[in-house]
């Protein structure tokens, strides 16, 4: 079932990709092949593979249960939030929070997760800032009066 669904998604995507190739502007200098042929070739082969996967699917993979899906979703949200906050909030706080939450997701114990978050945040900051010389801000810039 998973393979069939996946094949269907890929099939639709390849058709869309094939169609989207029509919108590519060719410009003045056109070689005999042009910029459209190769992408179309690739999407055609992808569509063929998708069909074959749908026709002959593998065994169903072991999907996680609901609670794990929830954990994965939370991890995803944490990562997205981390991506957005890394710059405005400085390195230390978002890293501690994100690392702590991820650690908790893996082993579900609060104290080790807290320690992991704080430890990784401080340790990596020292490593990045002083050993590798990356330009990172520890805390929001407004806290430092700038």
């Amino acid at each position: 079932m998973s393979d069939r669904l996946f094949g269907l998604i890929v099939l639709i995507a390849s058709v869309a990709y094939f169609m989207a190739a029509a919108n590519i502007q060719t410009g003045f200098l056109v070689d005999p092949v042009g910029p459209k042929v190769f992408p179309r070739l690739v999407s055609a082969i992808a569509a063929l593979c998708a069909l074959l996967i749908m026709l002959k699917p593998d065994d169903e993979p072991a999907w996680p249960g609901m609670s794990t899906w929830f954990k994965l979703l939370l991890a995803l949200l944490v990562l997205v939030a981390y991506a957005y906050t890394l710059k405005p909030l400085g390195f230390l706080i978002p890293t501690a929070v994100a690392a702590g939450v991820l650690s908790f997701q893996i082993q579900s114990r609060l104290v080790p997760a807290l320690l992991t978050g704080i430890g990784l945040s401080a340790g990596l900051f020292i490593l990045f800032k002083f050993a590798l010389g990356l330009s990172l801000f520890a805390v929001p810039r407004s806290w430092m009066g700038g």
Partner: protein
């Protein structure tokens, strides 16, 4: 001999204090990366590349650092295979077969020393092979025109899909996915954007480092959350390190044979170290007269895959440096490094940048000796590394990936794209779709298209031109065989399962 004078120049580059320090650092980091389950060589090298850039290293130094990590990871993978029955990385899978039974029989330190020596023999022979074979192959590669390159890229995809995967349709689909992603961005010859959907960030294309770190490192975090970090390894003990001279002497022939097999497997584009260790083990099992102890802790069963795996790692550098076609997932990551450093691998690299090539070779020889010291007398240190629990390791890897990618471009967009690739990687891995062909596709996509278009410019649009030279026809035949033959050979090439721990 020409090789020796060039190598002498290489040593002049490699023996400066900075490069030497980088090689040693790379070896230490690499062995740790290899030893830690959950941090394979490709993830390890991938997340370190952005950091290597931020150090402001020049091309030779960055390359030496990262190849030392690569070689180190190949040594390190055996440690957890032997002690925990968990391969530290994929090529070390075969080492679990006899390594873990040896450890259970109380011979863990013997197995570690023996496999360390076997790794050294394999890597050393492969590096010497690389020094002689690569310049020769580079000379042959001068004869390659666009149609030969197009067929060669195809060969890389098909052998990778055919041999390294167990489902041809899924491997081919993965390659197409990578190629399709590579098309995003500006078209080199017309200067027009393609498949950007009007998004300005995508005009430059998808940065392959973002894709690699997402697919390899970030997806690993999701996998570990799902598995609740089951494979944790606390409380490993190791008795005193002694050198099992008898075992080393007895398996010396094994090491030589396995090195040869591994080296050849490594040269095949797309095959890589996993195949090298697999063939070395199976070949040795078939070769020796009394193989009744194989799988039960035969020292030769430990020496063979380790020599094979490390020899293949060196062999995989041959096509990567001379043709720009990586032989494995990790060499694909190294190719990404070269491309980001603006070094185009290929025959011209050998004539125009000899200091890069020969500095690298000399550094590899030095790295090997460093690695032997690290992995035999000092192996205890790395055994300690194994007790880092995944709930510290994985968040750490994830944060390093974020900061690394962020330090490259400073854009949210790349970070979000990396998360998308991480999620994609998780689902693809669940569906048993290999991720290495995707990386290869993203890396080679534009080259492959360019070679096709240049071939058509030469021929005026005649597609028969693709099959006109003998070399090209050879590649086409090899590509088709490499893709189709494993379907029939699969029964014989079935990978033995690791023991239950």
């Amino acid at each position: 001999m020409e090789t020796f004078s060039l190598l002498a120049q290489g040593f002049a580059v490699a023996l400066t204090p900075t490069t030497l320090a980088l090689a040693v650092a790379g070896c230490i980091i690499g062995t740790m990366v290899g030893a830690l389950p959950g941090l394979g060589p490709s993830n390890g090298v991938a997340i370190l590349i952005p950091l290597a850039f931020s150090l402001g290293l020049d091309a030779t130094e960055a390359l030496i650092l990262m190849t030392s990590v690569y070689y180190g990871a190949m040594y390190g993978g055996r440690i957890s295979s032997i002690l925990l029955n968990i391969p530290g990385d994929e090529p070390a899978l075969m080492t679990t077969l006899d390594g873990y039974p040896m450890a259970k029989a109380g011979r863990a330190s013997d197995a570690l020393v023996l496999s360390g020596v076997a790794s050294f023999v394999g890597a050393m022979l492969a590096t010497i092979g690389l020094m002689f074979l690569a310049p020769m192959l580079a000379r042959v590669a001068y004869l390659f025109g666009p149609s030969e390159y197009f067929a060669l890229y195809l060969l890389a995809f098909s052998t990778l899909g055919g041999i390294a995967s167990d489902n041809q349709r899924k491997a081919a689909l993965a390659a197409c996915l990578g190629l399709a992603i590579a098309m995003i961005g500006l078209d080199n010859s017309t200067g027009m954007g393609r498949f950007t959907g009007g998004n300005l960030h995508l005009m430059d294309g998808v940065d392959f480092l973002v894709a690699i770190v997402g697919l390899f490192a970030v997806s690993e975090v999701f996998i570990f959350i799902e598995s609740h970090g089951r494979s944790s390894a606390i409380g490993v003990k190791l008795d005193a390190i002694t050198i099992p001279f008898k075992d080393i002497a007895r398996s010396f022939g094994t090491m030589l044979r396995a090195s040869l097999v591994g080296f050849i497997a490594g040269i095949l584009p797309g095959a890589g170290a996993s195949l090298g260790s697999f063939l070395a083990y199976m070949g040795e099992k078939a070769w020796v007269r009394d193989n009744s102890q194989f799988g039960k802790g035969d020292p030769r069963g430990v020496a063979a895959p380790e020599a094979g795996n490390n020899a293949a790692a060196g062999g995989a550098l041959v096509p990567m440096l001379t043709l720009g076609v990586p032989g494995s997932g990790t060499t694909a990551v190294l190719l990404a490094l070269l491309m980001t450093l603006n070094i185009t691998p290929g025959p011209l690299l050998f004539t125009e940048r000899p200091e890069v090539v020969w500095g690298l070779m000399a550094a590899l020889l030095i790295a090997n000796i460093v690695l032997l010291i690290l992995n035999v007398p000092m192996v205890r240190i790395f055994v300690k590394v194994l007790s880092v629990p995944p709930w510290i390791l994985l968040p750490g890897v994830c944060m390093v990936s974020f900061v690394g990618i962020y330090s490259l471009s400073g854009s949210y967009f790349d970070l979000l794209l990396m998360i998308v690739f991480g999620l994609l990687g998780y689902f693809l891995r669940k569906l048993n779709i290999p991720t290495v062909p995707i990386i290869l596709g993203i890396l080679l996509g534009n080259h492959m298209e360019d070679s096709l278009r240049r071939a058509m410019v030469i021929s005026g649009g005649d597609w028969k031109y693709l099959f006109q030279s003998g070399i090209a026809i050879g590649f086409w035949i090899a590509a088709i065989t490499g893709f189709v033959a494993p379907v029939f050979l699969r029964r014989f090439l079935k990978k033995p399962q690791a023991h239950k721990a």
